[in-house]
Structures are given as C-alpha cells and as structure tokens.
Amino acid sequence: MNPEPAVILEQIRAAVPAARPVLLRNPGPAGQDSILLDTASAQDVFRFLKTAPGLEFDLLSNLTGTDWPEPATAHSVGVPPEIPPPPAQGFLEVVCHLYSTLRREGPLVVRMRTADRAEGAHLPTLTPVYRSAEFQEREVFDLFGVVFEGHPDLRRILMWDEFHDFPMRRDYVAPDDYEYEPTPHEAVWERAKEHYAVPDGTSETGAPAPPQSLGLADEAACEAACSPLREERDRLSPNPPASDREVTP
C-alpha cells in the first residue's frame, strides 16, 4: 500500500534529468520516507508524479510547512548527511502528501526547502499542477511566510490582511496585548496592561476598564490600524482602484 520512495526516486531521475531528488529516511516507526526535491524542477517532478503511468499520484492530500530555525533539529529529524547543511539561520520546508486514487497508494511524502527563512523563502507553486494546493499554499504563506512563485492569488488566508508576522514560525512571539480581557493568573494580562492606559487594570467590579486608547503609541501602528478603513473607503468610491480587481485563476 505504501509506495516505495527509493524506486520512485529513480523514476524521477530518469524522467526529469534536471531534478536532484534526495531520499530522506524517516527515523520514526511510521516508516514514511520522503523525497526531497530541489526547487528548480519541482513543478516538473510533480507533474510527472501526477501523470506518469504507474505512479498517478492524482490527489495532493496535504500540503503544509515546517519551520526549521535550528538546522541541528532538522538533522535529527531526517536530513541525511549528504545534503550540505543549510545556512545557520535555518530554513522553511514544505511537505506534500500525495496519494494515488487509481492505484490506492500513498502517502508519498515529497518535500521542498527554502534557501533560508528570510528573503530566500521562495518556492515554486504547485497550484497549476494540483488545484488543491491553492488554499493550502496560501495558508503556508500566511502562517509560515513561504512565498510561492506563480501562485495565482497569494494573499493571507487565515490571518487578516494587515497582519505582519508569520505566527507558525517557531520564533514567533505573540504580542503582549492580543487580548485585553483579563484571565486570572494569566501573565499575558499582566504584560498587556502596560499597553493600555488603564491605571491598575481593574474597576470596582473587578472587570477592567475598557482601554482609553488602543495603546498604539507610535504613528506607524496608528497608520496600520487605520489603513484597512481607508482602503474600504477607497474601494467604495465610484471608481474603484485597479487593485480591487482580484485575479481570477
């Protein structure tokens, strides 16, 4: 039932000569070994995997990201030594689980890695090959910050458009004031109180007085908070700006 990644690896090498696939052994008992693809030929490989007779992995079941800020951890979980160690700042990884509904096989685990976690966090999109990647790539972009080149509609999907960070990265720090409601024993509230103009955080009833201001001291934050309203207003104007037109895939 489970496909043999080592065999498929050879098939890929034969069919897509430019590809440099690498087999990753899964150290755990699950035994789901995976194929690591280089980004340049990834789309071709996926197209091959989807259509090649005998493979026909027609269902991209799952596409998700993983953040590896520490290459050492990554190595412990399954980077073989023959791969040159990635930059010290770590990398982001996209993992795909492919199934073949025709041959009832799967999952074939295929991964891609970015060069680093900052400017180099680019990967080719899979949406033209598998439509089901569309929303999942948007999610990975939203939560991990991987930019999928060629994606037809790469916008944030779960977080709001004005959000700036990537919350699923491991070094993400939740803002102190993401909730201004006190939860007893919650250190978050203690920290959050400093962001609000509330004298001691309590009123007579024990409930906090509502914050007088949003506590956004600096101009930039104010600007960020107001910009959606402004955009909404602009959109309402008789002649909508060109940016309003969403791209239809």
């Binding site: 006190p182 939860t183 007893p184 024993h185 250190a187 203690e190 955080g201 024990g206 409930a207 906090p208």
Partner: protein
C-alpha cells in the same frame, strides 16, 4: 436505493412531505417521545453518571481543609490543556512542603471540561463534577473557583459517580492494606534490626505522609521532582490580587 418508478405524477413528493409533517404535528400532542426539547428549569434530564463538567477536589472526612486529598503536586496544572489550573503549594515557616495546596484555583471561564486533570491525577483527588449551572454575573471573579468552592466531600463523589468512587475506594483500600503490610514488614524488619543492633531509631516511618495520599509506586519520580522544584511559587498573582 431502488430504481425510481417509471411513472410519477407530480405533487406526490410534496404530499408525502406534508404527510410526514402532519403526522409529527398530531403526534407531538400525543407522544411524549416525539418531543425534541426539554422545558429546562422545570424539567431536567437525568445526567449519565459518566457525564462530566467542571472539576472538583475531593476531601475525606468532614473537613474540607484537612481532608483534601490533593498534595499540590502540580501534575494537573502541567497537563491541563488550556492552563486553567493554578496551584500554590502550602509551606510551613521553614519553607518545608506541607503537601497540600495553599491556593488551588480553576478558572471556569477557561476550563473546557476535558477531564484530563482527573485522568492524570495519581492521588485520586480531582474528579469531574456534574454541576452545569455555573453562570455568574461577574464575568471574572465569579468564574474563578477557589479551593473552598472546589472542595467537595467524598460522599458527594460517591453520590454522583458511584462506580468511580467505589473503584477509587477499593483501590485506596488495597493500597492501604499493601502499605500497612509493607509497614508491618518494615517494622518487623526494623524490630528485628533493632533487636539485632540494640539501639537504632526507625527512620523510614515518617518519610511517607499520613492519611490517604500515598503515591502509587510508578510515580515517585514525578513527585520527588516536584518537591525539589516547587511549582511557580515565584509567580506574583495570588487570586485575591488577580484582576
């Protein structure tokens, strides 16, 4: 589904639907089992003995302060998925653990009644209650349950969950017996040793707490670890200071 009949006059499906609703309309006046709803404050459904809601702490005997089974080990605090439990270990003036909680709070507005605290507790001291009328006019303090609110007697536990309570009592009896046997053996051994060595005070008898808080043998590492590292006692927020 069998193949559709060859010739269907239109409107039959609509009439069938009307027949079903009509049957229910009339049936609702005559058959109680048709009714979907319960007229809540007057009628109440009997809860299943397994039904769980907010956790509570069990105490043995009549005094919730001294009889509390909880030894403030902090396992539930650690395992609680939404982190709604807050425990401060009680210590005497020398800083020695008294093996009971000074503060044991559960934030009912955060608690999701999953029952993991009861599941992981090695001392059979926290269980799931069946009280579901927890609404309070005070959004914050009213839903912060302290030790006094949470403490409920073992009889109460036996009332709401007879099977579970019986099993716990059985287990405790067995442990007690085992411990007594071990104690007796030790004492016998000590006596024998004493008889052998003439003057040697028994050192072990005080090491285990009195009462029912004996730990199962597989858990001693956790407990000893906890004793060396008191749970978050440096955290400033005691319930009375909490907003």
């Amino acid at each position: 589904m069998s193949a559709a009949p060859k010739w269907i006059p239109p409107g039959i499906g609509l009439l069938q639907g009307l027949a079903v609703t009509g049957k229910n309309f009339i049936g609702s006046f005559f058959r109680a089992d048709r009714m979907t709803t319960v007229q809540y404050p007057e009628e109440r459904v009997t809860l299943s003995p397994n039904s769980r809601n907010i956790p509570f702490l069990v105490f043995d005997g009549g005094d919730p302060d001294t009889g509390l089974r909880c030894v403030a080990c902090g396992i539930c605090e650690k395992e609680c998925p939404p982190q709604c439990i807050y425990i401060v270990l009680d210590r005497d003036e020398n800083g020695k653990s008294l093996k009971r909680p000074k503060v044991f709070d559960i934030d009912a507005s955060v608690c999701m009644n999953c029952g993991i605290c009861a599941e992981v507790c090695p001392f059979d001291s926290i269980f799931m209650d069946q009280e579901y009328e927890l609404s309070s006019a005070d959004r914050f303090k009213g839903l912060l349950f302290d030790k006094a609110t949470l403490a409920k007697s073992a009889t109460y536990h036996a009332k709401i969950r007879p099977l579970e309570a019986a099993a716990v009592a059985e287990r405790k009896r067995a442990e007690e017996a085992k411990r007594a046997a071990a104690q007796a053996a030790k004492e016998a051994k000590a006596k024998a040793d004493a008889a052998k060595k003439a003057e040697a005070p028994p050192t072990i008898s005080n090491a285990r707490p009195a009462g029912g808080s004996a730990s199962p043998p597989d858990l001693s590492p956790t407990r000893s670890g906890q004793e060396s590292d008191p749970p978050k006692s440096t955290q400033p927020t005691a319930p009375e200071e909490a907003p």
